[in-house]
């Protein structure tokens, strides 16, 4: 059971949240080539370690936010707002 700290409601059980996949994925411009689109649509970093990801407190306040979570230990290392840049301590790990 993950215990996720919602920025507004505090720490709640995983079952109140919806997982939204990787954060910091930028949609390419319409004129981009096929390789760029393929990468945007399908390629995933899928790290064994720190993963920056989107979550929504769907059965609570409804807000979307980002967290940095270790996919091997499930430790939640940082919670930050949607739209904030990649936290520098996690480098280029979007």
């Amino acid at each position: 059971m993950l215990r996720i700290p919602c920025p507004y409601c505090g720490v709640r059980d995983e079952s109140e949240f919806t997982f939204g996949g990787p954060a910091h994925v930028t949609r390419p411009l319409p004129e981009s080539d096929d390789a760029t689109w393929t990468s945007y649509l399908f390629a995933r970093r899928n790290p064994a370690g720190v993963h920056l990801e989107r979550w929504s407190h769907a059965f609570g306040c409804g807000v979307w936010f980002n967290i940095a979570r270790d996919t091997c230990t499930h430790d939640i290392l940082k919670v930050y707002a949607t739209g904030e840049p990649t936290p520098p301590e996690f480098g280029n790990r979007g």
């Binding site: 059971m1 993950l2 995983e14 995933r44």
Partner: protein, 414 residues
């Protein structure tokens, strides 16, 4: 290789069971091989076996980071079936099922295949409509499948409750499908491959690839550098990391898929039952345990442990279907790392690097594909061209858009 038979069993039993030899050779790495198979799970060992037996390529090593068969090959729920939706999948998985049907005698190792039938339940008129379509699609691919009425289902599976929250309006069954002892498949392939001269090297982790231009020359491991012009990556649950070492991005998300077993009880369930609506599937093992599985946890995970909320929902669904199981105690619960692709079909075949081949992305259903995965990958490595059965599973499909979307037929929600 010591041949196994009833006579041999009786003979050695009379001599106090002292004459048994190890089933396979735990080899030391040599400096050069013709083909390296990275990953000592079912797929890797089967690839090595078919390379040696069908293609005469015997200077082969299987490199396994830990011990063979301890990853997903030993963590799945043993289901073998070929009732997929699209012709490409049906053809591939039915080839696998046919190989499973002859596997015990081919490997001289009892893999305990039990073709007890896999039954999918329909809980609404819409479910039933979709299942009729699905069932017809399977039959069009020349795979056996038939619709069952509620009365037929009740007769086939007496402990199933028809008074649960979701009524049972029918279902369809593949009678040739069933379960098969997973450890026996791993050990059978390892033993047969080893007997043909394949080196099975355990505790040997690949740390990097030696690539010049776009050509593979060898791999770096924790036990030294090994040269080879051809290598197959077959490391479910670690595919993104290994492919990353070769600079190949993959279309995979790794998640935890959990399973659990109850305490053993007397035979009560001789069919494998799946309900896609409530996300649960149930069978009874030969030891008498009720084997339970369900959906994958929703988020990326390499932890090999499942989350409690999903476990609760799966057990809730099973108890609704089989109220008599409610008093059983759970004995074990575990999870495997499953590599989910966007269309839940595998990624198999050639890579942009010459000599480097890939077999991954099996998601929640790699066990049933072991014989065909090994057979077709061995053929692909030996000929340098994708085997016709796997041509559609090439990684280029994500660029061309020719996806084989088996999200529904995967049988597991993710």
């Amino acid at each position: 290789m010591q041949r196994y038979s009833a006579l041999k069993l009786a003979g050695l039993a009379l001599r106090g069971n002292h004459g048994w030899q190890p089933a396979w050779r735990d080899a030391e790495p040599k400096s050069t091989y013709d083909v390296l198979v990275i990953g000592g799970g079912g797929h890797g060992l089967a690839t090595a076996y078919y390379l040696a037996r069908k293609h005469g390529v015997r200077n082969v090593a299987v490199l396994e980071r830990g011990a063979i068969g301890l990853g997903n090959s030993g963590r799945n729920t043993q289901v073998v079936r070929s009732n997929y939706f699209y012709p490409a999948s049906c053809a591939f998985y039915d080839h696998s099922l046919k190989l499973y049907e002859g596997l015990s005698s081919e490997l001289n190792f009892n893999v305990m295949l039990s073709q007890r039938g896999v039954l999918n339940l329909a809980h609404s008129e819409h479910d039933l409509e979709m299942q009729r379509r699905w069932c017809n699609a399977i039959r069009m691919s020349a795979v056996d499948s038939e619709m069952l009425s509620p009365a037929e289902i009740q007769k086939l599976v007496p402990p199933l409750s028809f008074r649960g929250r979701h009524p049972i309006l029918g279902g369809f069954i593949q009678r040739r499908a069933g379960i098969c002892r997973h450890d026996a498949v791993v050990w059978g392939y390892a033993r047969a491959a080893s007997a043909l001269g394949v080196d099975i090297i355990q505790n040997c982790e690949v740390l990097g690839f030696q690539i010049e231009g776009d050509r593979l020359h060898g791999v770096r491991t924790n036990r030294g550098t090994i040269s080879a012009n051809r290598a197959v990556m077959s490391v479910a649950g670690y595919s993104s990391q290994l492919a990353g070492l070769a600079g190949l991005p993959l279309q995979i998300t790794t998640m935890a898929l959990q399973a659990m077993v109850t305490e053993p009880i007397k035979p009560v369930l001789d069919t494998m039952v799946i309900s896609s609506l409530v996300h649960a599937y149930v069978s009874q093992s030969d030891r008498g345990e009720i084997v339970i599985g369900g959906g994958a946890d929703a988020y990326n995970s390499y932890a090999q442990r499942g989350g409690l909320p999903l476990q609760r929902s799966v057990i809730g669904a099973v108890v609704e279907l089989f109220p008599s199981f409610s008093r059983l105690r759970l004995m074990r619960q575990w999870a495997g790392r499953v590599d989910i692709t966007p269309d839940t079909s595998p990624i198999m075949g050639l890579t942009p690097i010459e000599g480097l081949f890939i077999n991954c992305g099996w998601g929640t259903g790699g066990f049933k594909a072991i014989p065909a995965g090994g057979d077709t990958m061995a053929d692909t490595v030996a000929t340098g061209k994708p085997h016709p059965l796997i041509a559609g599973f090439d990684m280029k499909r994500f660029q061309t858009g020719a996806l084989i979307d088996e999200g529904a037929a995967a049988g597991v929600a993710h």
